[in-house]
């Protein structure tokens, strides 16, 4: 009894945090399948990724890009490191900007 109660409590707590903060353990590496790939006005490419570590990411010409190049279409899988926030300027007039995380280096599927 004295053994199972702390074990169950720790399992519940760790399970809760794993569900609520699934990506908190790994900050920089990212990866997932692109659901949307949009070219930006400022020569960048905006890609919205799904799990496991998804979100809005922005590829730029300064990104160190490995095989098979920059994101080009939805359905691609991307894997890499992401760093600072970055703005994808979709439109200048009217002003539409989509912020994402700067892709420092990445590789992609075909």
């Amino acid at each position: 009894m004295a053994y199972t109660v702390p074990m169950r409590t720790s399992l519940l707590v760790s399970g809760f945090f794993a569900l609520v903060f699934p990506a908190i353990a790994f900050a920089f590496p990212f990866g997932g399948q692109a659901s949307m790939v949009i070219p930006c006005y400022n020569q960048a490419i905006y890609a919205n990724l799904g799990p496991p570590i998804g979100g809005p990411y922005v590829w730029t010409p300064s990104t160190k890009t490995y095989q098979f190049g920059a994101p080009t279409h939805g359905g691609q899988w991307l894997l890499g490191l992401a760093g600072a926030p970055y703005y994808c300027i979709v439109s200048v007039q009217p002003v539409i900007v989509w912020p994402g995380t700067y892709i420092t280096m990445m590789g992609s599927s075909r």
């Binding site: 900050a27 590496p29 990866g31 160190k64 490191l81 760093g83 703005y87 300027i89 995380t101 280096m105």
Partner: protein
């Protein structure tokens, strides 16, 4: 009828007996195989219950042989016979040496078994179905030079700082998005300014690090400075009121983010040039990426 009324239990027993006989008759008529006349044990063959050593005739059923032949010709697995290497691997005399046993499984070929012990060859034959050379139970330890060790420690140190910052500001794109969509909101503007200030603080903390390997000093200073510039330019974005100023501030910030990324890649390249790698459990994993790190 009078007898049946006076003896209800006897008549019920008679009826049950009649039903039992009828049921047995129906089962016998519908059975796919003839019911043996003598008592036998349950099993694939008609082994008598009282004589388990009985062996049926081999040519009793051609169909059964053809099925067995098909199974033998097309096994559902691939048998990989043990291959004897050209040079015998060193073996120990201890029969319970677990390390050597694991080493045997990890190798692509099985070592030559000692002539006096038939048990080892039998054991390896049992493991012949398992593909070998694909199992790694231990991580090979690589001897680091003094420079590599210093870079490894430095990478984990700075990686821990960067990772901690990233964990605290995981939703930074969302903060920027909300401010860009509602530029008149003072609270959302303050959130962006706060994020910029945090970047500057991170840069100052990195610049204040005392233990930096000499080979990394220049890249370290550049990275810390680019964090500071990044934060300064980010904090300026909410101050822009007109659309043109807003776009200009964004482009200025993006340019500083480009410089930051180049400095970051430069640091990653230096780690690679010195042959320093980080595992998925190291804080320095922020300088490398692999599917294991997801």
């Amino acid at each position: 009828m009078e007898w049946a009324r006076t003896h209800p239990y006897a008549s019920a027993l008679c009826a049950a007996g009649v039903l039992l006989v009828l049921g047995a008759y129906v089962v016998q008529q519908r059975a796919s195989q003839p019911v043996p006349t003598r008592a036998t044990a349950w099993g694939g063959t008609e082994t008598p219950l009282l004589d388990p050593t009985y062996q049926p005739a081999q040519n009793e059923s051609l169909d059964r042989e053809s099925i067995m032949q098909r199974v033998k010709d097309n096994p559902p697995y691939t048998y990989i016979p043990p291959v004897t290497p050209a040079t015998p691997a060193p073996t120990t005399d201890e029969p319970d040496d677990f390390d050597s046993f694991v080493a045997m499984l990890m190798k692509g070929t099985s070592p030559k078994a000692p002539a006096q012990s038939g048990g080892t060859s039998t054991l390896l034959d049992a493991y012949a179905f398992i593909p070998r050379g694909l199992i790694s139970t231990t991580t090979p330890s690589k001897k680091l030079t003094a420079t590599q060790q210093a870079l490894y420690d430095y990478g984990n140190d700075i990686g821990s700082t960067i990772e901690s910052f990233e964990q605290q500001h995981r939703n930074s794109p969302q903060v920027l998005k909300e401010q860009a969509e509602d530029r008149a909101d003072a609270g959302k503007a303050a959130a962006v300014v706060g994020l910029g200030t945090a970047f500057q603080e991170l840069g100052k903390n990195l610049a204040a690090m005392e233990v930096v390997p000499s080979v990394m000093a220049s890249a370290h200073t550049a990275l810390a400075q680019s964090y500071i510039e990044l934060g300064k330019n980010l904090a300026l974005i909410p101050q822009a009121e007109r659309d043109s100023d807003f776009i200009q501030a964004i482009q200025t910030y993006n340019a500083s983010a480009d410089i930051f990324t180049k400095n970051y890649i430069r640091m990653v390249s230096l780690f690679g040039a010195y042959g320093v790698t980080f595992g998925s459990g190291d804080s320095g994993r922020v300088f490398t990426f692999s599917p294991n790190s997801l």
